[in-house]
C-alpha cells in the first residue's frame, strides 16, 4: 500500500542518494587527484584542510566566482540546457541499485533501495543511452569547431559502445534469470560472484563503460591534446562545473553498477547477520573500482579515434554477442 510514510521513505532515500552522489563527486575528485599524484610521484593537493579534504570546497568556490561566458553566436537556450541534461541521467541512474538487505529502522522495515523494478537493467540502459544528449547539444550549441567535433565524437562513440555494454549486462541477467538488480545480487550470494562466472562480460563491461563515460583512455570527446577540451571548451564557471560533476558522478555510477553486477553488490561475509555491513561493503567495492579507473587513466595514452570505433564494432560487439549466446546455451544445458 502506498501511504504517506512510504512516500516520505522514498523522498528520504532519494535525497540520501543524491547527497551521496554529489558529496561523492567532490571526494572522488580529491581521491583522483591524490591517487594520481602518488602514482606520478607527486604529493597532490594537501593545503586546503587536513589532507586536502577541503579542496573540493575551494574548487567549488572558485568555480562559483568565475565569469559565466556564453559565446556570441551560441544557441543560448540549448547552451544553458546542455549541462543540466548531462547531470540528470547521471544522478538518476543509480536509483535501482540495492545498497543492502532490508533492515529495521525506528521500528519500520526499510528496504535499502529506492526501487526494485523488475526491469532494472533496462532502466540503466535507458538512462545511459540518453546521457549523450547533453554532450552532443553542448558541442553543437557552442558554435566552436573543436566543441562540435567533440560532440560528434561523443555521439558516435556512445552509440558504438552502448551495444557492447548492453550485451555485457545480459551475461549476469541470463545467469540470474532476472532483470532486477536485487535478484542479481541475491543470485550471486548463492553462487560465485559473476566476475568469476562471466569474466568476458566483465571485461567488456569494464572497457565499454569507460568508453561510455568518456574516461581515459577513451576520452576522445574531450581529448585535451587534440580538441583542447572538446564539447565543453566554451563552458566556464558553474556550467562547466556541472559537466565536471556529471563526469565524476558517472564514474561513481559505473563503479556501483559494475560492483553490483559482477562483484556481488552489497554481498560480503556476515552481511546476513549484520545488515549494516551491506552499504559498507558496497562502498568499499566502489572505492576500489574507482581506484582502478584512476589507475587506468594514469597509465595509458589515449587510443586514436578510428581505432576506438574499430575496437567497439569489430572486437567488443562480436565478443559480447558471442558471450551472451554461449552463456545462454550453457544455462539451458545445465538446467
Amino acid at each position: 500500500m502506498i501511504d504517506a510514510a512510504l512516500i516520505w521513505e522514498w523522498i528520504i532515500k532519494s535525497l540520501i542518494l543524491i547527497i551521496f552522489l554529489t558529496v561523492g563527486f567532490m571526494y572522488v575528485t580529491v581521491y583522483e587527484r591524490r591517487f594520481l599524484a602518488r602514482i606520478q610521484s607527486r604529493i597532490g593537493p594537501n593545503r586546503a584542510g587536513p589532507f586536502g579534504l577541503l579542496q573540493p570546497a575551494a574548487d567549488g568556490l572558485k568555480l562559483i566566482f568565475k565569469e559565466e561566458l556564453i559565446p556570441a553566436n551560441a544557441d543560448k537556450f540549448i547552451f544553458l540546457l546542455a549541462p543540466i541534461i548531462t547531470v540528470i541521467p547521471a544522478l538518476i541512474v543509480l536509483a535501482v541499485i540495492p545498497w543492502g538487505e532490508a533492515m529495521v529502522i525506528f521500528g519500520r522495515q526499510v528496504n535499502l533501495f529506492i526501487s526494485d523494478v523488475n526491469v532494472a537493467v533496462v532502466y540503466i540502459m535507458a538512462v545511459t543511452s540518453i546521457s549523450v544528449y547533453g554532450i552532443t547539444l553542448a558541442g553543437w550549441s557552442s558554435n566552436n569547431k573543436y566543441a562540435l567535433l567533440g560532440g560528434l565524437r561523443a555521439t558516435a562513440q556512445m552509440i558504438s559502445y552502448e551495444l557492447a555494454l548492453g550485451l555485457a549486462f545480459m551475461g549476469p541477467v541470463v545467469l540470474a534469470g532476472s532483470l532486477s538488480m536485487v535478484d542479481i545480487v541475491r543470485a550471486q550470494q548463492s553462487s560465485l560472484w559473476y566476475v568469476v562466472l562471466q569474466p568476458a562480460a566483465f571485461l567488456i563491461y569494464f572497457f565499454a563503460s569507460i568508453a561510455e563515460i568518456n574516461r581515459a583512455p577513451f576520452d576522445m570527446p574531450e581529448a585535451e591534446q587534440e580538441l583542447t577540451a572538446g564539447y565543453h571548451a566554451e563552458y566556464s564557471g558553474m556550467k562547466f562545473a556541472l559537466f565536471f560533476m556529471a563526469e565524476y558522478i558517472k564514474m561513481i555510477a559505473i563503479s556501483t553498477i559494475g560492483a553490483t553486477l559482477f562483484f556481488g553488490g552489497f554481498d560480503g561475509p556476515f552481511v546476513d547477520q549484520i545488515p549494516w555491513l551491506g552499504p559498507i561493503y558496497l562502498l568499499a567495492k566502489v572505492v576500489i573500482y574507482l581506484g582502478v579507473l584512476i589507475w587506468v587513466r594514469a597509465s595509458w595514452p589515449r587510443i586514436r579515434y578510428d581505432r576506438l570505433m574499430q575496437l567497439g564494432w569489430k572486437i567488443m560487439f562480436p565478443l559480447a554477442l558471442l558471450n551472451v549466446i554461449i552463456t545462454a546455451v550453457v544455462v539451458v544445458l545445465v538446467n
Binding site: 544557441d75 540549448i78 523494478v117 523488475n118 526491469v119 533496462v122 532502466y123 540502459m125 535507458a126 545511459t128 543511452s129 540518453i130 549523450v132 544528449y133 552532443t136 547539444l137 558541442g139 553543437w140 562540435l148 560532440g151 560528434l152 555521439t155 558516435a156 556512445m158 552509440i159 552502448e162 532483470l179
Partner: protein
C-alpha cells in the same frame, strides 16, 4: 485518486501533443529533434502509467537513446540544422495536408463505428507486461511476425553496408573512362 489520475493524464497528453506540434512547426532541426525526444519520453511515461515499465524503458532506449541520437548526430554532422524556407519537393505541403485529413477521417470513423465494448474490461495481472511474459509471447504466439521483422531489419542492415561500401576499383575505372 481518479481526479489526480485524470489531471496527470491530461498533463501528459498536452505535453505529448504540444511537443509533437513543436516538432512539426519548429524551423530548427535540432529543436525539432529535441521536441521529438520529449514526445517519446512522454509516451514512455504513459506506458509506465499503464503498468508496462519494460515497454516504456524500451521506448526510451530504442527511440530516444539510439534513433534520435543518430538523427541528432547526422544533423550536427551535416550542419543541416537550418531548414530551408522553400519546399524541397514541389507541392509536398498540399499532399501532406491532404494525408493529414485522411488520417483524421480514419480516426473519426474508427471512433464512431468501432465495435462497442460489451461487458467489463478484462482485468490484467501485474505480470502482464513483465519482460518474461513479453518474451514468452514474442517467441510463441508472435513468433512469425517477430522473425519477419528480424529478417527485414537484417536485410536493411546488409543493404546499408552495401550502400556505404567503397566501389571496387574496376567500376571506378569504367566510370572514369566514360568521363
Amino acid at each position: 485518486m481518479p481526479v489526480i489520475g485524470t489531471i496527470f493524464y491530461a498533463f501528459l497528453a498536452i505535453v505529448a501533443v504540444g511537443s509533437a506540434l513543436g516538432m512539426l512547426i519548429n524551423r530548427n532541426a535540432i529543436y525539432s529533434a529535441l521536441f521529438l525526444v520529449l514526445n517519446f519520453a512522454t509516451v514512455a511515461v504513459l506506458y509506465l502509467a499503464l503498468g508496462a515499465p519494460f515497454i516504456a524503458l524500451s521506448q526510451i532506449t530504442v527511440y530516444a537513446g539510439a534513433i534520435m541520437v543518430l538523427f541528432l548526430f547526422v544533423i550536427t554532422l551535416l550542419g543541416a540544422e537550418k531548414l530551408p524556407g522553400y519546399e524541397p519537393i514541389k507541392g509536398h505541403r498540399i499532399v501532406a495536408i491532404g494525408l493529414a485529413f485522411v488520417f483524421i477521417a480514419e480516426l473519426v470513423l474508427f471512433f464512431f463505428f468501432r465495435n462497442q465494448v460489451t461487458g467489463p474490461i478484462p482485468l490484467i495481472g501485474p505480470e502482464f507486461a513483465s519482460p518474461r511474459n513479453i518474451g514468452v509471447l514474442m517467441f510463441t504466439e508472435y513468433l512469425l511476425p517477430f522473425e519477419v521483422v528480424a529478417f527485414i531489419l537484417l536485410s536493411a542492415t546488409v543493404g546499408a553496408i552495401m550502400l556505404t561500401k567503397p566501389e571496387r576499383k574496376s567500376t571506378t575505372k569504367l566510370s572514369q573512362q566514360q568521363d
